[in-house]
């Protein structure tokens, strides 16, 4: 069962085209990663109907948007990379506004989270630090009591202590099996902790969409001093460093003298799926 079924969704800009096909599973946390400009935010904005798509379609819980707007917008919440409300307002006013817009808005949870993150209610949001703004956006998103929560880099700019709290909050949100999270981030450490599925975007396209467990089972990260021909045949995304070579392989039984084999982290997976870099010195060709 999918919360979001995205097929051939195309957004064309002058110098960039996004063409994404991906299904987001219900009851799971899906981590969306990719380099800057890969199209993650564009994908999220398109899902949230803030960006026009020239082709393709999205089904929300199996339903098209047209004709089901109210139902879908009631069950979906998004924390964008920038606040989508008036940051000149104070939280106490925004609270009232959100309560009037979303009658299922959880006032109790709001108060609890405001206290937990030590956010003041009588200071304008634009006077908050970047990290405080991110936390406040997340609070508003969670208090809407959505079924589908979409987060565009929610933990960026947040200190490690509160980042742990944010991750915990997302885990708490996922206690309900009907809830779904799509989580775009550059802090892959968070995905290591909570993601069920990993989606990698590259140049506007989805290049990987797999369960994290499957990735852990199927892939190995290998470090070696020399890259033999035999190893080259199995190697994916070879990276050369001062200490030798590292690469991914689908051969989980790989072993040999001088080989260090381990299960890759999300970050290592991300780096190695981006392609090869066999230059140990980045200034070599200059």
């Amino acid at each position: 069962m999918y919360s979001l079924e995205i097929e051939n969704l195309t957004v064309a800009f002058e110098r960039f085209t996004m063409n994404a096909t991906v299904n987001i599973r219900k009851g799971c946390i899906t981590g969306l990663i990719g380099r800057n400009g890969a199209g993650k935010s564009t994908l999220i904005k398109t899902i949230m109907r803030q960006q026009d798509a020239s082709a393709g379609h999205i089904l929300y819980d199996g339903k098209p948007f047209k004709g089901n707007e109210v139902e879908i917008l009631n069950k979906i919440a998004c924390v964008f990379d920038v606040p989508h409300f008036n940051v000149a307002l104070k939280p106490k006013r925004l609270f009232k506004l959100y309560k009037s817009i979303y009658p299922q808005f959880d006032a109790e949870l709001y108060e609890k989270l405001m206290q937990k993150f030590e956010l003041p209610s009588d200071i304008r949001v634009n006077k908050f630090s970047f990290g405080m703004q991110r936390k406040y956006c997340l609070i508003l998103g969670l208090c809407q009591r959505p079924e589908i929560l979409i987060l565009d880099e929610p933990t960026s700019g947040i200190d490690p202590y509160d980042r742990g709290n944010v991750v915990e909050l997302i885990q708490e949100f996922m206690m309900d099996e009907n809830h779904t999270v799509l989580f775009s981030t550059h802090i892959t450490e968070d995905l290591d902790k909570i993601a069920d599925y990993i989606v990698i975007m590259q140049n506007g396209k989805i290049t990987l969409n797999e369960e994290k467990e499957t990735i852990c089972e199927n892939y190995r990260l290998v470090q070696c001093a020399e890259l033999t021909d035999e190893l080259k045949k199995q190697a994916l995304g070879v990276q050369k460093s001062m200490f030798g070579y590292t690469f991914l392989t689908k051969n989980k039984d790989i072993s040999g003298e001088g080989l260090q084999v381990k299960v890759p982290t999300v970050e290592e997976l991300f780096i190695h799926t981006l392609g090869e870099n066999t230059q140990s010195d980045p200034f070599e060709d200059l």
Binding site: R49, K75, C78, N86, L89, E147
Partner: protein, 247 residues
């Protein structure tokens, strides 16, 4: 899950609270600039002999300009109003009502403020140069309001002052393009000076000045055409922005 529709008033508050994510300066001009033009229009058309007509035309002109400013102030950023759980048809309807509300409120606030300042300036002039001033009077012919020269001078000074203050503040903040836009109130003050010059210091009034200009209805037509054009451009921009996304 139960489906909710936010109320119209929530929607208006959302739009009025700048949750459209609009360009703030352009939004200010939705109320401010439209109020200036609306006020100017009413003042110009008062002497034509019909009290209801100039007010309604001035109001229409102001709304058109307000719509245009607001429509072009919308930026393509994520905004709360587009995420509200609401049907597309209702979103369009609510948006138009909210835009009207915003423009009218902006107009009223601005107009009241401007007229209050004008009143103060007029009183100052009245005290300083008593012999110049004729109090506002109604003629016997169809109760036409006649603007006195004191009133005109006050209006001209107020518009010029507003423009100058805006220009200085924008230049100080390095926002030159807005400073150019702020020239508008200064330009608005110019016709007042021209009318004052036309009618002659001491005995003229706006009513006479306009009656002496032939084909004044041509000007009304031109104003109306511009207003309709502005309104159409604003509506076109809004419809384009709010059109349903077919995916």
């Amino acid at each position: 899950m139960k489906n909710f529709h936010p109320s119209l008033w929530s929607y208006i508050k959302c739009v009025n609270g700048n949750n459209l994510n609009v360009n703030k300066t352009a939004r200010s001009y939705a109320g401010g600039a439209s109020a200036l033009f609306g006020a100017l229009f009413i003042i110009f058309l008062f002497p034509l002999g019909n009290n209801g007509m100039p007010i309604s035309l001035g109001f229409g002109f102001m709304l058109s300009l307000g719509f245009l400013c607001l429509a072009f102030a919308i930026q393509n950023k994520p905004s709360l109003f587009a995420l509200m759980p609401i049907t597309h048809r209702r979103n369009v309807l609510y948006f138009f009502i909210s835009a009207l509300f915003l423009t009218v409120v902006g107009f009223v606030i601005f107009l009241v403020a401007v007229w209050l300042i004008m009143l103060i300036v007029a009183l100052v002039i009245l005290i300083a140069a008593r012999e110049w001033i004729f109090v506002i009077e109604a003629t016997e012919e169809a109760s036409v309001f006649v603007c006195t020269q004191g009133y005109l001078i006050a209006a001209a000074i107020v518009f010029a002052m507003i423009g100058l203050v805006l220009i200085i503040s924008f230049v100080k903040r390095g926002k030159l393009k807005y400073a150019l836009l702020a020239l508008v109130p200064v330009m608005v003050s110019l016709p007042f000076y021209i009318i004052i010059a036309l009618t002659g210091i001491g005995n003229g009034n706006l009513y006479i000045a306009f009656n002496e200009v032939p084909y004044s209805w041509v000007y009304v037509g031109v104003f109306c055409a511009i207003a309709v054009g502005l309104f159409a451009a604003g509506v076109a921009r809004l419809v384009l922005y709010l059109r349903p996304k077919e995916y």
